[in-house]
Symmetry: C2
Subunit: 198 residues, 2 copies
C-alpha cells in the first residue's frame, strides 16, 4: 500500500488488527481520524493508553475495574450472599443495565471449550470456589446459552452442589417480543420444557 | 454506565465517536484493547497520534501524505500531463491498486452537493484550475457515479473545456462479473448508451 504515506499505512495496519475491523473499515477509520480535530485525536489516543494502563481485575469478582475492589463488590447496598457467574464484563454490564439484580457477580473471563482447548483451569473457577468458603446462599449461573456456556454451567453446578449452596441457571426460552415463527427449534423446545404454570 | 470503571466508560465513549462504531462495537473494541498486550496498545495509540501530527496535503495534488510532495507527484515515472480528478484519497488508492494508471491525480476532498451546502469553493477546484495553467494534456474526471459526483463532473468539464484541454469521464456501466438481472435500470441504460463497437 505504498500509494498511502507510511504513517497512514501504519495507522490502517494497527486499526485492522481490531476485532470486526477489516481493511476497508480500517481505511475509513484512519481517514476519519486524520480529519478529526487534534484535541479529539489526543482524547482517543489518551483513553486507549490510560484504560490499558489503569485497568485491572477486581480482587473479589475479577471484573475489569480501576480500583482494588470494583464499585459493585465494595457497595453495601448489594447482597453479597448471592453470586451471579458470568463469562465476561460485558455480560455483567448487560445484567446491570436491567437495574433489578441486587446480588454481586463473578466474572470467569471465558467458558470451558474443549474445541478451543480452554479447560476449567483457564477460567476463574478456582477463585469462585474460594469465594464459596464464605457465607454464600446462592450461585446463579448466567453463562451464555451456547455449547461452551452450557458446558461451563454443568461443570460449575457439579462443583458447587456438594457444598450445599443453592445453584441455579438463568432461564432459556423465547426472547420477549420474539416472533415464534422466526425462532429456532432448540429454543422453542427449551421454552416448552421450561414452561411455568399461570 | 457506572457499572464499568470510569476509564472503560471514557474509552467506550471515545471509540463510539468513530464512524460506523455503535455503542455495542465500541464496548467490544474497548474490552479487546484492554486485553491486548501493552506494546500493541502503545503501537495503536502511537499510530493514531503520529498519523494526525504528521499528515498534510500534498502541495501539488492535495492527497494526504507526510511529505511536501506525495510519492506520485514527485515520481518521474508518472505522466504529469494527465491528471485524474478524484473525490478523496481512498478513491486515489483504488485506482493505484489497479497498477495501470500512469498519470497523476488531483484530490478534491469532496464533491459539490447543494443538499449538504457544499459549493465549488468548498472543494479543491481552484487548485485544480491553477495546475491547468501548466502543460496539461488531459483531465480525467473520476468522481463517483452518484448525484454529487456527476454534478461535480459536469461543473469541472464546463470549467476546463474553454482552456482547450481534453476532458474525459470514466465509463459508467455494468460492473465486471455483474449479473444483468440484479443491476438497476439506470446503470443498464448507461451501459447501453456507452456501448462500444466490437
Amino acid at each position: 500500500m505504498d500509494y498511502y504515506s507510511s504513517q497512514i499505512t501504519k495507522l490502517i495496519e494497527e486499526l485492522s488488527k481490531l476485532p470486526g475491523v477489516g481493511n476497508k473499515s480500517a481505511q475509513r477509520l484512519a481517514f476519519h481520524i486524520i480529519n478529526m480535530p487534534k484535541e479529539q485525536v489526543e482524547c482517543l489516543a489518551g483513553a486507549i493508553t490510560s484504560a490499558k494502563a489503569n485497568i485491572r481485575y477486581c480482587m473479589e469478582c475479577y471484573t475489569l475495574t480501576d480500583q482494588e475492589l470494583c464499585p459493585i463488590c465494595s457497595s453495601d447496598k448489594r447482597d453479597h450472599k448471592i453470586i451471579m457467574v458470568v463469562e465476561n464484563t460485558r455480560d455483567l454490564a448487560a445484567y446491570e443495565r436491567t437495574g433489578k439484580y441486587e446480588g454481586v457477580y463473578h466474572v470467569l473471563h471465558g467458558a470451558i471449550s474443549p474445541m478451543l482447548g480452554i479447560g476449567p483451569s483457564d477460567i476463574r473457577l478456582k477463585e469462585l470456589m474460594l469465594r464459596l468458603q464464605r457465607d454464600v446462599q446462592e450461585v446463579i449461573i448466567a453463562t451464555n446459552s451456547s455449547l461452551e456456556g452450557e458446558t461451563t454451567a454443568m461443570y460449575i453446578s457439579k462443583l458447587v452442589k456438594p457444598t450445599g449452596i443453592r445453584v441455579s441457571r438463568i432461564a432459556s426460552g423465547v426472547p420477549v417480543g420474539g416472533d415464534l415463527e422466526y425462532i429456532d427449534e432448540v429454543t422453542l423446545l427449551r421454552a416448552l420444557e421450561g414452561r411455568v404454570e399461570l
